[in-house]
């Protein structure tokens, strides 16, 4: 009998040795005359246990981890192929509490299926939504998304249904769907995990979006820092075309939708939607003034539905189960689930898809298990480089766009970066300004000049030079950036800076 063993191809797993583990398993099996089918799946998201391998047994998939290549001989000696006992045995994967407590809608298949097997995708519920969408009127599809309460997962949290309606109603000879996979925020990796672990879900979501708004062409703008995701997505697009899921006649419907992959070139600003559109057009990633909204005049001036990977990946579930089912999950005006990414100095980092309303404390303690260093958590940065440094006194805050905004924080793309008590928030505030100075597109003055002036004034504050006067100047500068910047880069940069200053003043001007 052939045993099936899953060894993730996810680049996080690979970064700690998954390829070597796969090779060792193949060698050990060959040496023992065991027949093994190796499936290179995505990651289950329990990243601190990577490489986490699984063995298919009569009683389900059994997990072992973290496995290194030198563990493999011992695992085979312990009869790993039949789920044998071993110190690295974690038990049935589905029963691991960290995973079982989550509510995986968008990530239901990631880590489960072979990312590039079209058959596997269909066997796990893939295409059900696309088939349903082909049988629905565009207006009805838009209503499903609108009634789900889905909001843009890239960070802005704009209601998806309104965007869909706007693009659908726009009159044009050509419309586009543009997927933003320029996941540049530090502390975020959910887009990458889905692209590497379940790329067909994104393509299905994009096809449904195209049908709904009347777009026949989609682009995925993927950052160049993700070569593994690029390889998987490129192969998935080819397979989807070969299967007739994409192309001139989607699933034989005579309705066209195709997807093209474009690669960024290392500019953080291209995660901003209009800079991304400029980059897709082959230009410098310079932010556009809005209006016009991309939904009216986007790519090459045509109506364009721009969404983050996570937004589009939520669409198949919504269409399959109905907008009301999605809207039944969540908190306040934040509906559905958020794939949270636990990162930085965290003991149990990884992908945690939970309903909105989950508190930071649950994420940091129940899931995260505190810091990797074992020291107390001093701050967490939520929402990427433009997100606030949240002090421990605010850890009971629920994940909710409005609750976070009211507290002066940002949900963003759901990245949570944990820092222990050795962090110097004055340094982190300076880093935020320096990062903006390096990555600003340069179009508007508050961001281009303000970030450089911000580094200078922070240097003075941190050196203890006229602390009060310079702090007042910093606040004034931040006010200018908040209200005068063209896009969220300059506009939100004051958030990490001022949250650090307000919540951790002792880190400023000790000199």
């Amino acid at each position: 009998m052939t045993a099936t063993v899953y060894v993730p191809r996810d680049s996080a797993a690979v970064s700690v040795g998954a390829h070597a583990v796969a090779a060792a398993i193949a060698a050990a099996a060959a040496g023992r005359g065991e027949r093994v089918r190796l499936v290179r799946n995505g990651s289950r998201g329990l990243l601190w246990l990577e490489p986490l391998i699984e063995v298919a047994t009569a009683s389900g998939r059994i997990a072992y981890g973290p496995v290194q290549a030198h563990d493999v001989e011992g695992l085979f000696a312990a009869d790993v192929l039949r789920g044998g006992a071993h110190p690295l045995r974690l038990g049935p994967t589905a029963e691991i509490g960290w995973l079982a407590r989550q509510q995986r809608l968008s990530f239901a298949r990631t880590g489960v299926v072979d990312p590039l097997s079209a058959d596997d995708y269909e066997a796990h519920g893939g295409l059900v939504a696309l088939r349903a969408a082909l049988a629905m009127a565009g207006d009805a599809l838009v209503e499903q998304v609108a009634s789900s309460g889905l909001r843009g997962r890239g960070g802005a949290g704009f209601p998806a249904g309104i965007k869909w309606r706007t693009v659908r109603q726009a009159q044009a000879d050509q419309k586009y769907v543009a997927c933003n996979a320029d996941e540049g925020d530090s502390g975020t990796f959910s887009d990458r995990m889905l692209l590497e672990g379940d790329p067909f879900t994104l393509l299905e979501g994009m096809a449904i979006a195209g049908l709904a708004v009347g777009a026949t062409v989609g682009y995925v703008y993927l950052r160049s820092e993700y070569p593994d995701a690029r390889a998987v997505l490129r192969a998935a697009i080819e397979t989807a075309r070969a299967r007739g899921w994409l192309g001139d006649s989607v699933l034989g419907s005579s309705r066209a939708f195709d997807v093209h992959l474009r690669i960024g070139a290392g500019a953080y600003i291209c995660g901003e939607e209009t800079a991304m559109l400029e980059s897709l057009e082959g230009k410098r990633g310079i932010v556009r003034a809005k209006p016009p909204l991309p939904a009216i005049a986007g790519l090459w001036g045509k109506p364009t539905l721009v969404h983050n990977v996570m937004t589009l990946a939520a669409v198949p579930w919504i269409v399959q189960h109905g907008g009301a089912a999605y809207a039944a999950i969540g908190s306040g005006r934040s509906r559905g689930t958020l794939p949270v990414q636990l990162a930085g100095n965290v003991a149990r980092g990884g992908l945690v898809e939970v309903p909105f309303g989950t508190t930071l404390r649950e994420l940091l303690v129940d899931y995260g298990g505190g810091t990797r260093s074992g020291r107390p958590i001093r701050a967490v940065q939520v929402g990427g480089p433009l997100g606030a440094y949240v002090p421990s006194s605010a850890f009971d805050l629920p994940l909710d766009y409005e609750a976070f905004a009211a507290a002066g924080f940002l949900v963003g793309h759901g990245g949570v970066v944990v820092f222990d008590d050795t962090v110097d928030l004055g340094r982190m505030a300076r880093f935020a300004m320096a990062f903006c100075a390096a990555e600003s597109c340069g179009k508007c003055t508050p961001c281009r000049i303000g970030s450089t002036r911000g580094v200078e004034v922070l240097d003075k504050i941190l050196a203890g030079e006229q602390r009060e006067a310079n702090t007042a100047l910093l606040r004034d500068l931040c006010d200018t950036m908040t209200h005068g910047s063209l896009c969220a880069m300059g506009g939100l940069l004051p958030m990490p800076v001022l949250s650090a200053l307000d919540h951790f003043p002792e880190d400023f001007g000790k000199g």
Binding site: V16, W48, S186, S224, A265, K283, G415, V417, D420
Partner: protein, 182 residues
């Protein structure tokens, strides 16, 4: 190891006929794509390791763009290089999640040997680049070495990685600090 800057003010290297042939082939293959400039630049750099400044005019003419537009794009994006990189390219993440687990020590470690971000070693073996986030934020500090991602990298693992590629002596950088560079 002393180093030379390869970015910024480095003089443009003249393009050879072979390089022009590669540029022309990229234009022929990708020039009809909508928004073809980035795909062409990526394709050229994938093959040559950099985008020769002398290629700008050819690309501009083929795409009906001004020289300034092509030059502007090449220099706007951090990825595109104007000079060949070393035999190996090491990209070190300097974003917040890696900082939270001491990632900046990796840059300091290399800087102690004259290898600052953006520099290529004098023997041409290694180019070091800084990058903001490699998407491996739960398993930092992270580096990308010749396109492959490595997680939980400390000074010792970095030395092993570079040692295995024959860049540093195996088993350590030779800085002489007791117990290595830890």
């Amino acid at each position: 190891m002393p180093s030379t800057a390869t970015n910024g003010a480095a003089p443009a290297s003249p393009a050879t006929p072979t390089q022009f042939a590669i540029v022309d082939a990229s234009i022929a293959r990708l020039g009809d794509l909508p928004g073809a400039l980035l795909p062409i630049l990526h394709d050229v750099q994938d093959q040559l390791g950099f985008v020769p400044e002398a290629a700008d005019a050819r690309i501009a003419a083929a795409l009906n763009l001004s020289l300034a537009e092509v030059h502007g794009v090449v220099t706007f994006y951090h990825d595109f290089r104007r000079a060949p990189p070393g035999d190996h390219v090491l990209r070190i993440c300097r974003a917040e999640a890696c900082q939270a687990v001491g990632g900046e020590r990796l840059e300091q470690h290399l800087a102690a040997h004259g290898l600052g971000a953006g520099a290529t070693s004098a023997d041409g073996r290694l180019t070091v680049e800084a990058v903001y986030c490699l998407g491996n934020c739960a398993l930092g500090p992270s580096v990308q070495f010749d396109g492959e991602l490595h997680g939980r990298v400390d000074e010792r693992r970095l030395d092993q990685l570079l040692g295995a590629a024959g860049i540093l002596p195996r088993g350590g950088c030779g800085c002489g600090r007791q117990g290595g560079c830890r």
